[in-house]
Structures are given as structure tokens and as C-alpha cells.
């Protein structure tokens, strides 16, 4: 299948990997362990694998939807096809809100990390504004700039941050992971539910797909991205479980960052500050992709100009900031988003999949 869009605005299938994993790994990786162990305790690493496998299935559904019907180009058209014109419009607008919320939460939580770890007493608005200007710069360039940023914004932090965990190896106690299966199936399922929040972001493919040069060839890159993300989360989970005892982990709010406090190298005594600064790039990628998708959905439904919707979105960030200015409200908002995301992934996408499948069957019957 060849794409009808002009060659200039297209990306090679290879970038699907960086866009999907760029949107999936955001700020949650710094503290997901806490909520993960709520139900399944130290068996929860199984939940990470289970979660990853289900996301593979969801991704497969998305690819099937696109390849099943030549008319389907992006999410807005799927909505229109499945729910009709009026209801489809409603769903499209809900999607704009959903992706916008995703971007805002990652943005807000990372600002909180900066507040807690780096500048506890500083006025946070200047940082927000700089952040917003950089997001605007990234998005103004279109998807190709975004793909480039998501390449470097992932490679650079990963190259520096992940090797750091080798320094922690000395302090690991593998015995923490035993006994292997002392939690029920239900507890593991509940932990998987809390893990889904970390896997959200795979749905950005809905809007990225039409921009891929040879979209059907990008499936392997998409699955590679999901596999990569699952693998990274699994490794971080296992290291965290071996580093902290279960009782200790319940007292630590940012386990991944606290873990890095043990590393001491000459000149730089505390590496977590560097990691927070570097992670800015990663968060920039995650926020930008979510906003781009929101802007894209808005554009195809209401034909607004991307530039203006972007400015509106970013101004909205500053306004939302006033309402979510403390820890409790941010946490409630992320919980709400996590719940919506859970149904988005496990209810909405399969529903779309079934309807398109059904319609196609009927079409071929006629």
C-alpha cells in the first residue's frame, strides 16, 4: 500500500518505533513501582509481562483495522465509520480531550519531580514557560521534527540513564523475589490494571499511521517498540524489587530516582539530579507526541489550523496548572486518567476492532 500524502511530510516506518516508545515511556517510570505492588506485592513483575502481552494484542488490532479497509486512514474516520456522523464527532472530541489530558499529566508530574528533587522553593512558572516554548518549537515543525526529537530525545537519556543501573547491582538481593507465586490470580490481574497506566501511549499510532511511508511495513517496528517498553519496565521492576524490601518500598515515593542515590562517582556525588535533568528530554518527547495527536484529531474533525490549536493547548496548560497545583489533585487527576486509559485500551479499541470487522464482513457479503 502506497501513501497518498506528499513524500515530504512522510516518515519512514522505522520511526514508528521511536514515536510509540517515546509516547509510552514518560514520567511514570520514575514511580510506577509503588502502585504496582499494592495488590500482587513482589509477584507484581508478572503483571508487567502480562500487561505487555495484552498491549501487543491491542497493537495487532490497530494494525488489523488499518489494513482491513482502504478507506480507513486515521482514528477520526474509524469513529465516523463505526458510530455515524454525529456520534463519531462526539467520540473524536472526546479523543482530543483524552490525548490532551495525557500530555498534561506527564507535563504536570514532571514539573512536580523538578519541584521535589531540584528546586523545592523556586517559582515554578518560569520553568513551565520555558518547557512550553520548547514543546511549541518541537510541534511547530510537524511530525518529521517530532520524529527526529523522539529519536534523539530517547537515545540520549537511555544511553546515560540505563547503564547507571549497573552500579546498583552490588546492592541487589535476589532472595526478595522469592517465593515466586504467593499471590492469587486476581491480585496479579489487579496489579496489571495499575500497570496499564504505564503502557498508555500506544494509541498514538491511530494518528501516526497515515504519515508512515509504507505503513504496512511498520508493524514490526510497532511491536518492537511495545516489546522494548515491556522489557525496560520489567528490568526496572526486577531491579527495584531486589534493591528494596517490600516494607521499604512502601515508604519511598520515587523508587527509581531514590535507587540512583546510592551511586557515587568522583566529582558528581549525586547522580539523580543529572538524571532528572536528562529525563526532561524524554518527557518532552512524550508530551509533544500526545499534543500532536490531540491537535491532529482536532484538525481532521473541525479543520482548525494546527498552529492555533497548539497555542490554545499550551495556554490551557498554564490555566490547568492553577487548578492542579498540589500533590493530591495531581494524583487524583492521574488516577482518573489511568481509569479512562484502562477503558480506552481494553474496551474502546477492541470495540472499534469488532465493529470494523463486522462491517467489513457485511460489505464483502454484499
Amino acid at each position: 500500500m502506497k501513501n497518498q500524502k506528499s513524500e515530504k511530510s512522510l516518515i519512514s516506518p522505522f520511526f514508528v518505533f521511536f514515536l510509540i516508545q517515546g509516547n509510552m515511556i514518560g514520567v511514570g517510570i520514575l514511580n510506577f513501582q509503588r502502585s504496582l505492588i499494592d495488590h500482587a506485592g513482589y509477584n507484581a513483575w508478572i503483571s508487567v509481562i502480562v500487561g505487555g502481552v495484552t498491549i501487543h494484542i491491542i497493537l495487532w488490532m490497530i494494525y488489523r483495522m488499518f489494513s482491513s479497509d482502504q478507506e480507513i486512514l486515521d482514528l477520526t474516520l474509524i469513529n465516523k465509520l463505526c458510530f455515524g456522523k454525529a456520534l463519531g464527532l462526539l467520540f473524536n472530541l472526546a479523543n482530543v480531550l483524552y490525548f490532551y489530558l495525557a500530555g498534561f499529566i506527564v507535563f504536570r508530574v514532571f514539573i512536580e519531580v523538578i519541584q521535589i528533587w531540584m528546586f523545592p522553593v523556586m517559582n515554578i512558572y518560569p520553568i513551565c514557560i520555558i518547557f512550553i516554548v520548547i514543546i511549541y518549537y518541537t510541534l511547530a515543525g510537524g511530525l518529521r521534527t517530532l520524529a527526529g526529537i523522539s529519536f534523539w530525545g530517547s537515545i540520549l537519556p537511555y544511553m546515560i540513564v540505563f547503564p547507571l543501573f549497573f552500579f546498583v547491582l552490588k546492592y541487589l538481593h535476589p532472595i526478595n523475589l522469592l517465593p515466586l507465586f504467593n499471590h492469587t490470580f486476581k491480585e496479579i490481574a489487579l496489579s496489571t490494571k495499575s500497570m496499564v497506566f504505564q503502557f498508555l501511549g500506544v494509541e498514538c499510532l491511530f494518528m501516526v499511521y497515515p504519515f508512515v511511508k509504507t505503513p504496512d511495513k511498520s508493524a514490526k517496528w510497532g511491536h518492537a517498540a511495545v516489546f522494548f517498553v515491556t522489557f525496560i519496565y520489567l528490568i526496572i521492576t526486577l531491579i527495584t524489587f531486589m534493591y528494596y524490601t517490600e516494607g521499604q518500598l512502601k515508604h519511598i515515593i520515587w523508587p527509581t530516582l531514590t535507587m540512583l542515590k546510592i551511586i557515587e562517582i568522583p566529582i558528581i556525588q549525586r547522580l539523580e539530579y543529572i538524571v532528572v535533568a536528562l529525563w526532561f528530554l524524554k518527557v518532552l518527547v512524550s508530551v509533544s507526541i500526545s499534543l500532536w495527536v490531540a491537535g491532529r484529531v482536532l484538525r481532521t474533525t473541525l479543520h482548525t489550523k494546527l498552529r492555533w490549536s497548539l497555542l490554545m493547548f499550551l495556554a490551557g496548560f498554564l490555566i490547568l496548572f492553577i487548578f492542579f497545583n498540589d500533590r493530591g489533585s495531581v494524583r487524583r487527576l492521574s488516577e482518573l486518567y489511568g481509569n479512562i486509559g484502562f477503558y480506552y485500551i481494553y474496551l474502546y479499541i477492541p470495540l472499534l476492532f469488532l465493529i470494523t470487522l463486522f462491517k467489513k464482513k457485511r460489505k464483502s457479503a454484499v
Binding site: P120, I130, Y171, H173, P179, T245, Q248, K261
Partner: protein, 361 residues
């Protein structure tokens, strides 16, 4: 438009210098050591910070304050200084004995929550008053003197790996109890007197530095530790000891039984270096060497059993037998383990290999 873009770019890049929230080294007091003591119902805290007056010279200064709660110690200390106090470079927290007998959980909890404090901070318990030890360390004019002593002894001596992270690990973890270095004074000098064993957050008992080596062998590689062994059949009085250095060691645990009474087999493999032995033992002769190894093995089996008995009598579990049993059974609770702990059966086997005996005869 181009001009506007340039101006915006310059304004934004000015932000990158991040000239806000500055903390210049000369204008703050960097606390490196804190000591907490109990005085009546009040907490007395003593802090050490370096002052750099002349180039190449460091002076260590002391500040102290009293309060009913230890939470407001920083603001109270602040009223005594001309520059702000920062504790991001904290290297050592020392507790007085009476303070640690009352429990140190509140302090530990607050340190654990603080993003500024590193995980390699050393904790310790003083024989009498923490303030006394801190005062004594001032005359060395070296920042982090006490923390340096502990770190040095972890690397080259008998102390097992210990710092804030290992303490929190044992403290919050189920089925193991924490331990901390024990700082004592001897003729006006500070000395590491061994380890303090904690029950939860309270001082329970202290063990000598020699016993600390036994614990080190049981929980990790005892590399570089040294141990003075008494000989069974001394020929004359001055010659009844041999000095052994640990080159490498490994302890493996095997749980033979969990119910009703747990039984654990401990097997220790130790590679040792023996340099100083009495004249009548000739280490170049194979059978004498084997005999010495056998004698050392018997000694360590006894010492390890004694150490475990000591732990059982005090109801502390620094070795982590509880954690070991937890990992082997699906239903495990700290309470039921504590009731069974005094009855816990252990069998010890030690295998020692003398791999180096020095260069002279």
C-alpha cells in the same frame, strides 16, 4: 520578523544560565556530621561543618542546640549562624546510646523522606554521647572523619557493608534486623568498637569488632577482614594466637525444614591468609597446614554457633534467617517467626583453605 526571532532566542538562552536558587559554597554552612543525644526529655543535636579560611586548610566547626522535638533542629541552628545551613552533603548521623535506646525511627523516617540526603550516609551509635565523639573528631581537621573511618573499615576491615540504604533495607524489611557501627572512645581517640544490634529501631546489644567479622562472613564476602585465633595447644604463653586475614569467603544457606521448627544448614567456605604463626608450626609442611585448617574450622563452627545463640538470646536477627524462611514458604509472618526463632535449629559446616602463608620461613 527575523529580528524578533533573534531577540526571543537571546531571551530564552539567558534563562538557560539558571541564575536562580544559587548556593555558593562560601556562603553556606555545609553540615557533614550530625549527632543526636537525649538530654532529659529534650533532644540535643550537634553538627559539624567545615570552614575554609586559608587555602589548603580546613577547619571543622561545631554547633549545637536543644529542643523538645528533633524536627525543628535546623531552624534552631539557623538562629546561631550568619549564613544558611545546608545538609545536602551530609555524610554521617551519629546517635547517642540513650537516644538509640529510646528508638531512632522518627529520625530514620525523616531522613528516608528527604530528597536531599544521599543513600550512602553512614549511621552509627556512640558509646556514651554523640556530642563527645563529634568534639573529639574536630581536632583532626578532616571533614567526614567519622564517616571515613567507617567506610575505611568496611573496605579494609571487619565491618560488613553498612550505610543508610542497608539500614533501611533491614529496618523496613520483614525477617531481618538492622545493625550499625558502634563508636567508642579510647584514650582520647575515636575507635570503632564493633556493631550495635537493633531490635526494630531500638538499641538491643553491642558486639565486638571480632564478632563483627563473624557477622560479615555470614552475610557477605568477608574480604580483607582479619581475625585473631587462639590455638588449642599453646607451647608457651606468648605464642598462643595466630592472625588470619580473609581473602575470600562465601556462605550458603540451605533450609532443610520449615515446619514445625525450622532447621537451616549453614556452610561457609573461606580462603584465608595466615602470616603470623608461632615457630613450632611449620606451614610449609602439608600435614601441619591441614591440621591448622582443621583447628580453625572447629573454632569457627563454635564461634558461629555462639553468635547465633547470642542473637537468639537477644531476639535479634541481623543475619536474616527470617527473610530466608520467608522466601521459602508461601505463608510466613513475622509474628509466628519470632515465636519460633529461639527454637530455630542451625547446623554449621566450615571449610577453610589457607592459600597464602607469606614469603619468609
Amino acid at each position: 520578523m527575523k529580528l524578533l526571532k533573534t531577540i526571543i532566542l537571546i531571551v530564552i538562552s539567558c534563562n538557560l544560565t539558571a541564575c536562580t536558587n544559587q548556593k555558593i559554597v562560601d556562603d553556606i554552612k555545609i553540615i557533614q556530621t550530625i549527632g543526636y543525644d537525649l538530654e532529659g526529655n529534650n533532644v540535643k543535636s550537634t553538627v559539624l561543618y567545615p570552614s575554609f579560611e586559608k587555602k589548603g586548610e580546613t577547619n571543622v566547626q561545631l554547633l549545637d542546640t536543644k529542643s523538645n522535638s528533633y524536627y525543628d533542629i535546623m531552624p534552631r541552628l539557623n538562629t546561631k549562624t550568619n549564613t544558611p545551613i545546608e545538609y545536602g552533603q551530609l555524610g554521617m548521623v551519629l546517635f547517642g546510646k540513650s537516644f538509640s535506646e529510646k528508638g531512632i525511627e522518627a529520625v530514620i523516617h525523616s531522613i528516608c523522606r528527604d530528597a536531599q540526603v544521599g543513600s550512602r550516609v553512614q549511621l552509627g551509635v556512640a558509646e556514651k554521647e554523640a556530642a563527645e565523639i563529634l568534639q573529639m573528631s574536630m581536632k583532626f581537621h578532616v571533614p567526614y572523619y567519622i564517616a571515613g573511618m567507617i567506610n575505611q573499615n568496611i573496605d579494609n576491615g571487619n565491618l560488613p557493608e553498612v550505610n543508610l540504604q542497608t539500614f533501611l533495607f533491614d529496618f523496613y524489611g520483614e525477617g531481618q534486623d538492622p545493625f550499625l557501627p558502634y563508636m567508642i572512645t579510647e584514650r582520647g581517640k575515636i575507635k570503632i568498637g564493633g556493631l550495635v544490634l537493633f531490635k526494630h529501631d531500638k538499641y538491643k546489644t553491642n558486639i565486638s569488632i571480632k564478632k563483627a567479622f563473624i557477622l560479615k562472613m555470614l552475610i557477605e564476602n568477608s574480604k580483607n577482614g582479619s581475625y585473631l585465633l587462639p590455638l588449642k595447644e599453646p607451647r608457651n604463653q606468648n605464642e598462643d594466637y595466630i592472625l588470619m586475614n580473609s581473602v575470600n569467603s562465601r556462605t550458603t544457606y540451605k533450609v532443610n525444614e520449615i515446619y514445625p521448627v525450622p532447621s537451616i544448614a549453614i556452610s561457609l567456605k573461606l580462603e584465608a591468609q595466615v602470616k603470623d604463626v608461632p615457630d613450632h608450626i611449620d606451614l610449609l609442611r602439608e600435614e601441619q597446614l591441614r591440621k591448622l585448617e582443621k583447628e580453625m574450622e572447629a573454632h569457627f563452627v563454635q564461634e558461629i554457633q555462639d553468635f547465633i545463640t547470642l542473637c537468639k538470646n537477644n531476639m535479634v536477627d541481623p543475619i536474616g534467617f527470617g527473610d530466608l524462611l520467608r522466601s521459602k514458604s508461601k505463608v510466613w509472618s513475622e509474628q509466628s517467626f519470632e515465636s519460633i526463632y529461639p527454637k530455630l535449629k542451625t547446623s554449621v559446616s566450615v571449610h577453610i583453605e589457607i592459600i597464602q602463608t607469606g614469603v619468609g620461613e
